[in-house]
């Protein structure tokens, strides 16, 4: 499978990355080289092998993923807003959302 410059543009748009021309060219080269290496997985017949999606829970029945639905304190409003790049008293401000 060969990754083209068009593929890279498309994937960059999915990933919200703005690659410049130089990055774009390098990415085509690197992705092809890495994916070429990854092709070796096709030597393995895995059609009857289940995918492994969980690491811990398969090992310990005591991994409790559910907790009581109890109220507990959360991060104070002011602390949550403190790192905001464009602070506002109540909200995170962003540029215009609807594009025309």
């Amino acid at each position: 499978m060969n990754v083209t410059s068009k593929d890279v543009s498309y994937v960059a748009s999915l990933a919200h990355l703005d690659l410049n021309a130089e990055e774009q060219a390098r990415m085509v080269r690197d992705l092809n080289s890495i994916l070429g290496f990854i092709e070796s997985l096709n030597e393995l017949d895995t059609k009857d092998v289940p995918p492994m999606a969980q690491v811990a829970s398969a090992r310990s029945s005591k991994t409790s993923t559910l907790r009581d639905d109890a109220l507990r304190p959360s991060l104070p409003h002011a602390a949550a807003l403190k790192n905001s790049p464009q602070p506002d008293a109540n909200f995170f401000k962003v540029p215009k959302v609807i594009e025309r």
Binding site: H16, T46, V55, A56, K62, T63, A80, V94, P95
Partner: protein, 483 residues
């Protein structure tokens, strides 16, 4: 100060404070002087947390003055890899995108260390978002290996390994997603432990790949690592993947003899590409374990060569999702003057992320994108099952597996930085343990003729860190006795 800070261990530092030979404050100040004098050449530290450290030291000293019993890690100066968030102390993850990020809460592992009395000296350099094997991907400049300044310290916990090796921290926390604790530990000649997946909470660890990320200690000795792990391990309600199993008393377990333990030696880890000196050092270590009464068993882990490709699909897929949160909205870098929200996202991410992070986001996004999901991501998840089965079969015959930690000793700065694939292969012996969730550690087991440290890796069954520590301890003793 009469103390040689280079020789301090976790146990001896606490002991000196308990015996009133030194105060926690004097000790912390001594470390800051040492960092000022020596860290410019190494660049292990990104941020010093002096205020927080001295407040904690004063608290310990007040307890000691009153004659109160001291907590188990009282006054022990430690460093924290900068991928763990620290309340009020800048946490960058080695990235420009978090250059000014001051977290409003603490990572559980850090909070537990501090609750046990440790003094947090500062935040340690690492590859950006823990993505790298040489620390050259840090946006703040590389770390140099204290054993040879022309060489890399390994990565991604390069700052953690270098600080412990240089003696600018008594111990450090690192994170391991594909070898990022064990590989730099091997390169810098220190002990590095990755506990079982689920043993240590990841709450407050800036996520790279959630099914692979682990937090663990880097220390000067196996018993120090056992001590640190004891206090950071255990269920945390803030991390649903942390398990509710009792935490064994590792420092006690460590002293048990290794006689009768069955040690597996996998043929696939001793083949082509393994440096001759590394091979010889690990083989001598195996002979020493045999002399100590271990039974050596030749085993096979047939899918070993598929571990790296599997890892680079799963880790990047998860990273592409985890790193979607860096969007310039709530914290982190925001590009100036974007007219629309989507332009702001794209530009903030483009300006904030370095080349390796972009490469991995791209690979992961590609592997998850429509039409490729089955061929790449799902395929990798199936091979992950095969890798797990390899180890399940092996662990029916053996109690532990011994391998080299890395194929070569530390390489030179710049040697692999232009070739992502060559860099990925530096993790060839460490990634599998991350993929299947078992514990692993690297213990120094010798030196190359150039004086570079060589690490031996010990792998055990899920949640059997106790056996791993026993064997690591035996290796440490046998190595010291042989030199």
């Amino acid at each position: 100060m009469d103390f040689d800070l280079n020789l301090l261990t976790v146990a001896s530092a606490r002991n000196a404070i308990e015996q009133r030979q030194i105060t926690a404050t004097t000790l912390a100040e001594g470390f800051y002087k040492k960092i000022d004098a020596e860290d410019k050449a190494i660049h292990a530290y990104l941020t010093l947390s002096k205020e927080r450290a001295l407040a904690q030291a004063a608290k310990i000293d007040a307890m000691a003055d009153k004659g109160d019993p001291l907590p188990p890690l009282a006054g022990v100066p430690v460093g924290i890899k900068d991928v763990m968030v620290t309340n009020g102390v800048r946490s960058t993850a080695g990235s420009k995108i978090l250059e000014n990020f001051i977290p409003p809460y603490d990572c559980t592992a850090v909070a537990r260390l501090e609750a046990a009395g440790a003094v947090i000296l500062g935040k340690l350099n690492c590859d950006e978002f823990a993505m790298g094997s040489s620390n050259e991907n840090s946006a703040y400049g590389p770390v140099r290996n204290p054993r040879d300044l022309t060489r890399v310290p390994g990565g991604s916990s390069g700052g953690s390994a270098a600080a412990v090796a240089a003696g600018t921290a008594v111990a450090a926390l690192g994170s391991d997603t594909g070898g990022s604790i064990r590989q730099p530990a091997a390169f810098c000649g220190v002990v590095g432990v990755m506990p079982t997946y689920g043993r240590v909470s990841r709450y407050g660890l800036i996520a790279f790949a959630s099914s692979l990320d682990h937090i663990g200690p880097l220390t000067k000795s196996v018993s120090d690592a056992a001590l640190i792990l004891k206090y950071i391990a255990g269920r945390d309600p803030m991390d649903s993947t942390s398990v509710e199993l009792p935490v064994p008393d590792y420092p006690v377990e460590i002293g048990k003899p290794v006689k009768g333990l069955r040690i597996g030696v996998p043929a696939e880890y001793f083949g082509e590409g393994l440096d001759a000196e590394v091979k010889a050092a690990v083989e001598s270590t195996i002979q020493r374990l045999a002399a100590a009464g271990c039974e050596v068993v030749n085993i096979s882990l047939p899918h070993t060569k598929y571990a790296i490709p599997t890892y680079y699909l799963i880790a990047t897929a998860e990273a592409s999702s985890n790193l979607a949160r860096f969007d310039g909205v709530r914290y982190g870098h925001r590009s100036k003057d974007s007219k629309t929200l989507s332009a702001m996202y794209r530009r903030s991410r483009d300006e904030g992320f370095g080349p390796e992070v972009k490469r991995r986001i791209m690979l992961g996004t590609y592997a998850l994108s429509a039409g490729y999901y089955d061929a790449y991501y799902l395929k990798a998840q199936r091979v992950r099952t095969l890798l797990t089965r390899d180890f399940e079969i092996a662990f029916q015959k053996v109690d532990a597996i011994i391998t080299p930690t890395t194929p070569t000793p530390a390489f030179k700065l710049g040697e692999k930085s232009d070739d992502p694939l060559a860099m990925y292969l530096a993790d060839i012996f460490t990634v599998t343990a991350d993929l299947i969730g078992i514990p692993g550690m690297s213990v120094p087991c010798g030196k190359s003729k150039d004086g570079l440290p060589i690490g031996c890796q010990v792998l055990t069954k899920h949640f059997d860190e106790a056996t791993m520590f026993r064997i690591g301890h035996a290796i440490e003793h046998a190595t010291a006795a042989a030199n």
